[in-house]
């Protein structure tokens, strides 16, 4: 049997613990207030319930990527198209230019790796599929027009949605199989106007006429050299992660 006095002591101790933790949280000196534009961006973030799919510092849904440090790695044009046209599971929000800028400013304010990160990263560049694809292109030495096409492709943020030799989680198709379904004319239409009804915006900046030919050559080469590319990519696998770099606390 526990006496009333013991119960009171027990609850008092617990309450003290709670008060101490609360005080520690509220008295933390690290404050990073937002600019007015970023505050407006944050209002849009909550108005459009972005956190149901995206996270900031781990808070939010898991359908989309963590956006804590997304600013530095998302092309502004890609961001604009995502926020206006949508992409696959991401609905079209039809934001105005000002609203897009505000959201961009908010994401810029959140991207402070010196403060904290949304996701742990211990590796080096060679880990990503597109980095390995780039290695395969270098190793296989395709003709110049294909290499130019690859460069044009890589600078249009196409790699934000598409994956090499595989469909992506955002339903962007495997482009090495594109020539099975699309002829040259259809490819030209997609590369100039996008496929807005399927969530693909038109590439920005638009491909130059010469680049269009190069990109089509590049897509055709992917279809022909698919096995060789896959083989080369497989040779470059292997973790680049340094587990010893795993810290006890991520941030101090």
């Amino acid at each position: 049997m526990v006496t009333p006095t013991a119960k009171k002591i027990l609850l008092s101790v617990l309450l003290t613990g709670f008060v101490v933790q609360t005080a520690l949280v509220y008295s933390d000196e690290r404050h990073e207030p937002l600019s007015n534009a970023a505050v407006r961006g944050r209002e849009i973030w909550h108005r459009d319930a972005c956190q149901v799919c995206h996270q900031l510092y781990g808070n939010g849904g898991f359908l989309g990527p963590d956006l804590t440090n997304a600013f530095g790695r998302v092309d502004p044009v890609r961001l604009r198209s995502l926020l206006t046209v949508g992409s696959g599971q991401m609905p079209a929000f039809r934001l105005t230019d000002d609203e897009v800028n505000d959201v961009r400013e908010f994401l810029r304010s959140m991207d402070r790796p010196d403060l904290g990160r949304g996701e742990l990263r211990l590796g080096t560049e060679r880990g990503t599929p597109w980095a390995r694809f780039a290695g395969a292109v270098s190793a296989l030495q395709p003709e110049a027009t294909v290499r130019r096409g690859w460069t044009a492709f890589a600078t249009r943020a196409c790699t934000g949605c598409h994956q090499p030799l595989a469909p992506s989680p955002t339903a962007a198709p495997d482009l090495s199989l594109a020539t099975q379904h699309l002829d040259r004319h259809a490819l030209l239409t997609v590369l100039t106007g996008g496929r807005v009804e399927r969530g693909m915006p038109s590439p920005v900046p638009a491909f130059e006429p010469g680049e269009l030919n190069d990109v089509i050559a590049f897509i055709g080469w992917m279809a022909v050299a698919r096995d060789a590319i896959a083989q080369r990519m497989a040779m470059q696998t292997g973790t680049s992660m340094n587990w010893r770099a795993l810290p006890w606390w991520e941030y101090r």
Partner: protein, 480 residues
Amino acid sequence: MSGTLPDRPIAAWQVEPAPVSVTQAIDPARRFATLTFLRGALVAVAITLIAGFLAALYSIPALAPAMQSIGLDMRQLRPIHTVFATSWIFLGAAAVVYRFLEDQGGPATSGDRWRLRVQVLSWAGAGAGILGTLLLRIGSGREYVGFHPAFSLLIVVGWICYVWNVYRVIGRSFWQQPIYVMMWGVALFFFLYTFAEQHAYLLPGVFADPVHDLRVQWKATGTLVGSFNLFVYGTIIYVGGLIAGDDTYCHSKTAYALFFVGLLNSFTNFGHHTYHLPQSAWVNWIAFVVSMTEIIVLARAVHDLWCLVRANDPRPFSATRACFTAAKWWTVAILFSSVLISIPPLNAVIHGTYVVTGHAMGATIGIDTMILLGGVFWVLGEFLGRRGLPVTRTALDTRNMRRIIIGLNLGVAALVVWLHVSGLVTAIHRAALAPNESYVAPAWLGASSGIMFALTGAVVIVFFALLLARVMPRAFAARA
């Protein structure tokens, strides 16, 4: 523990059930309250399931555009799912708390009745309003409290009436009451505080400082979960004691020791969600050390489970007991996972992945929902007994119910295991990236993740639907 069962462990649900008693001369207002919250809880769980199933379908990339074209996306589905899942837990627990008041409260006063009316109406209004506005995509865009903050006022008004009605009965004898009353009593106030804290973002100074806001939000969310855990654990101890006809455990030192560890965790270990946020090292260390005290609870749970497995139980099937037993298995699994992911380097690897979702789903469905279902079956069984059925066993404790409960738990286990696998693969692949690289899931995971999520989710939904098909008609046919 009871003198009649000296060699048994603490698990109250392991002891022999007392004969089903038909309570006599209970105030109709109190019976109405119990039945109303029980029905509300079942409606909430049905809404949770529908929204959850649609959200699982939306996670299949090929289906998302079609769902968008009919006006459905995650902006509606996820907040509806999380808000009504939370409501199910609070309403289910409220039904059990009001069942307790039936025995302890005596005749309801005029004030009790008025407060009950206000509570029911304000919560019903809030529930309908939240559902309607979230379908229209009007909400706060926050976690757990994703509804428009205007509805928070209705919830708080109802909650204050709830606190008043409970404390009018238990207030004077609070320190003499069994452990579950202390749990509920603390949770009633704890909820109010954490719920208010969830709305700190309405202060411009907090909103304009997202890192500070996130520190507060994680704290508020972590402790909100703590408050509903208190209701749930109080429920299992209360119902377990009643079906055993013995409340010795409810006053024991063991019960209070475990309560202390559990509540200390609820109060302070939210910090393990925020290891990756810039914050005081003290918060991190306190959260870590307190989280490790869960090993004590885990050891106790393993011991109870070991006794449960060894015991050859000859008694006929009881839905309540089956749910409580399932919760015991889940408690061991989830506590084990909880201790592991509270270790900072492991936490760093898995945070922001489906491991967290799997952990939360295992805790919410496996532990909280199983306990509350057990409580709901027991409370509803009383209503059915009163309506002329000889014993509750004929109504809910059937062979089919046994199959459904087993199927439901296996389905949830498959879902939780898949989420852990998916999350771990993501975590390892993601950690191998450089800071400026975008994570793209491995092709096999990208192709299978949504489908597996929807498939395992569908199994859970089917068994939940079968269960509700048996319980809901009886709950709505019952009379107070």
